[in-house]
């Protein structure tokens, strides 16, 4: 029993130490960008090849389109290329 208690105490001590260490450990998460090949990274960086820019163009059209009967975003928030502040 004494050996059992000592080993439990030691395990608890280790646990406490590791939890303290986890609070100060650096963030190990990585962006998926790091796992891409160089060719795909270049494609993503190039605005003319990145397919996401098609949806950015969609957003640009939505910014200027009147929403039903009310005004479009552009009428109060002006040109989004400068600032979206109203």
């Amino acid at each position: 029993m004494k050996v059992g208690a000592a080993s439990i105490a030691a395990a608890l001590g280790l646990l406490c130490a590791s939890s303290v260490h986890a609070q100060t450990a650096p963030d190990k998460r990585r962006s998926g960008f790091d796992t891409m090949s160089a060719r795909i990274q270049a494609m993503q960086r190039d605005d003319l090849q990145n397919p996401g820019m098609l949806w950015v163009a969609d957003g640009q059209a939505l910014w200027n389109r009147p929403a039903g009967n009310s005004a479009s975003c552009a009428q109060c928030h002006h040109d989004a290329r400068q600032s979206m502040k109203g």
Binding site: L48, Q49, P51, L54, A57
Partner: protein
């Protein structure tokens, strides 16, 4: 009307090689993929791309199911005269879209 982005120069010197890059939003459904219900989704692809320079075909391409969604095409055109570059995509289910860009040749 699918969203299309075209990068073509607005001015060029005579005889200069212009690099034109086009990107169009299209799902390019191969006809082999299964949807959520397990049935294969029907084929819906772009078939042909044509670039006309002052109504003369300077570049064309046949596209097949192997081309992935949102096809990106880059090609070169020699600048001869000022005028209009028109880009036409034709595909399944009567898809047809034309975009144009003007070019001024010095």
């Amino acid at each position: 009307m699918a969203r299309a982005l075209i990068h073509a120069p607005t001015t060029a010197r005579k005889g200069e090689v212009m690099e034109i890059r086009t990107l169009i939003a299209h799902p390019m459904e191969t006809g082999y993929r299964a949807g959520a219900d397990g049935r294969t989704l029907p084929r819906d692809i772009l078939r042909r791309f044509t670039c006309r320079y002052n109504n003369e075909v300077v570049f064309s391409a046949d596209l097949y199911p192997a081309i992935s969604a949102n096809p990106y095409l880059a090609f070169s055109v020699v600048a001869n005269a000022s005028g209009t570059l028109s880009f036409t995509w034709e595909g399944d289910n009567g898809f047809a879209q034309t975009e144009s860009a003007t070019i001024t040749v010095a």
